[in-house]
């Protein structure tokens, strides 16, 4: 899986969680500051990503991430 492909799928999952298909998101978009994603919404996103990538994600897997791109990079490492 390429980083670009992974990023695209992460953005798709975020749009599902935010219920906003037209949201402008790229790799630099900050999860908390730009998208107002809190810890509970982060859990919802993790579940969406588990289904999208058919993997298991622990809450600790996303420790320290700040941007959408950080998630994609973490997932590429994991998959």
């Amino acid at each position: 899986m390429t980083l670009e492909n992974c990023l695209e799928r992460v953005i798709k999952a975020i749009k599902v969680c935010k219920k906003k298909p037209a949201l402008a998101i790229d790799g630099e978009t900050r999860l908390r500051d730009d998208l107002a994603i809190d810890s509970f919404e982060m859990l919802m996103l993790a579940n969406e990503l588990e289904a999208e990538f058919d993997i298991s994600i622990a809450e600790a897997d996303f420790d320290g991430i700040l941007t959408v791109g950080d998630i994609a990079r973490r997932l590429v490492e994991k998959c």
Partner: protein, 372 residues
């Protein structure tokens, strides 16, 4: 977070969480006194009578000295009021929501929970050890998708509130129950802002949607429209029996006090006798305030008005302006709501005079114009 909160309070010159007020000089749109029962003579007298007859406190947990015949009779009355088999009192609804999952769910189970559910439900679900899967707020489409992926869990719980009080939206409970049936899931609904408010008789969300034979777990606060203190968990008798003897939040806490029970007794008397008139006034005041908010009102269906403020500073500034004009309101900022979706909540209870509701509406028009 605390520092940011202090900055906002300092700039507004007003701390909405430390409001000192003389109730006689203010119009209260901040409390959850939906029907005005907290001030009703009959309700106060019922609390006093309960103290006289049963004492100020039972000074024990329900399984020790707190399981009185008086409490049992009242629990049966409340269960019948909600059209459920059995009910249990908890010291608070927070404790009820926080405690039930530890007993009902475990690590082989999944709790699918509305993303906007109350903190007590989230904390309780998280503490159970079950898999937690939030679904998009009030989205049946997303809930269905999450449930389709949950088939391999031993038990599936679907958790929501009836009324989301920071927006006034009512959950689509009949459709949620239909999904629960399809996926063999157990519904859990917190009706804290529905009991005493929704339904033709004020019996809550189940009456509102004409739901009979509710198969899940029902919780509610007794400290909102019912004007008392404590919480209730209700549902099937066999589930309540299990909770009664095993739920730590219940068996290790002092039982609900006689005055709290007496208040509930008095409140149910008034609701059963007068709800059509009280409810009509509540919805009338809701419309008066809604008109004043115009486009700034979030579109909830419940008798709650919510002003969409965006950032926390605007929410606190509007609350301060209202306070200076004799109106009490409640701002909700992060973490209660997302940081970009701060609101001010207004509940114009049936206990207000018509003139007070009109005065509040006029004041809201002025303050909203000044703050946005």
């Amino acid at each position: 977070m605390l520092t940011r909160g202090r900055e906002i309070v300092a700039r507004a010159g007003f701390n909405p969480y430390r409001v000192d007020f003389d109730a006689a000089r203010f119009i209260d749109l901040a409390s959850n006194n939906y029907l005005g029962l907290a001030g009703r003579v009959e309700v106060k007298e019922a609390a006093i009578a309960a103290i006289r007859e049963h004492g100020a406190s039972l000074c024990g947990t329900p399984v020790a000295s707190g399981h009185s015949a008086y409490a049992r009779r009242l629990a049966e009355r409340l269960a019948a009021f909600c059209k459920l088999e059995a009910a249990l009192f908890f010291p608070s609804c927070y404790q009820a929501n926080n405690g039930i999952f530890a007993l009902l769910a475990g690590e082989d189970d999944i709790i699918v929970i509305d993303r906007a559910a109350h903190a007590s439900l989230i904390a309780g679900a998280r503490a159970s050890g079950a898999k937690i899967s939030p679904f998009v707020h009030n989205s049946l489409e997303h809930l269905a998708r999450v449930l389709e992926r949950a088939g391999h869990y031993r038990k599936i719980f679907v958790v929501t509130e009836s009324v989301f009080s920071t927006e006034g939206a009512i959950a689509p409970l009949p459709e949620i129950l239909a999904l629960c049936r399809v996926h063999d899931a157990i519904p859990v609904v917190d009706d804290s802002h529905g009991i005493g408010v929704l339904g033709a008789g004020g019996r809550g969300v189940l009456e509102h949607f004409a739901i009979t034979d509710f198969p899940g777990v029902y919780t509610a606060s007794l400290g909102k429209a019912l004007a008392g203190m404590g919480g209730v968990v209700a549902g099937k008798a066999e589930v309540m029996e299990r909770l009664e003897y095993l739920c730590p939040g219940l068996i290790y806490s002092t039982a609900l006090t006689p005055p709290a029970l007496g208040t509930l007794h008095g409140a149910l008397d008034v609701i059963e006798r007068e709800f059509p008139a009280l409810g009509q006034r509540l919805w009338h005041y809701r419309d008066i305030i809604a008109d004043a908010l115009g486009a700034k009102r979030l579109g909830g269906e419940a008798p709650i008005n919510v002003v969409a403020c965006g950032d926390a500073e605007t929410a606190v500034r509007l609350t301060a302006a209202l306070y200076r004009n004799g109106i009490l309101a409640t701002p909700f900022i992060e973490p209660s709501v997302p940081k970009d979706a701060c609101v001010v909540r207004l509940i114009a209870g049936a206990g207000l005079a018509e003139a007070a509701a009109q005065q509040a509406a006029a004041c809201l028009r002025t303050c909203i114009q000044a703050c946005f």
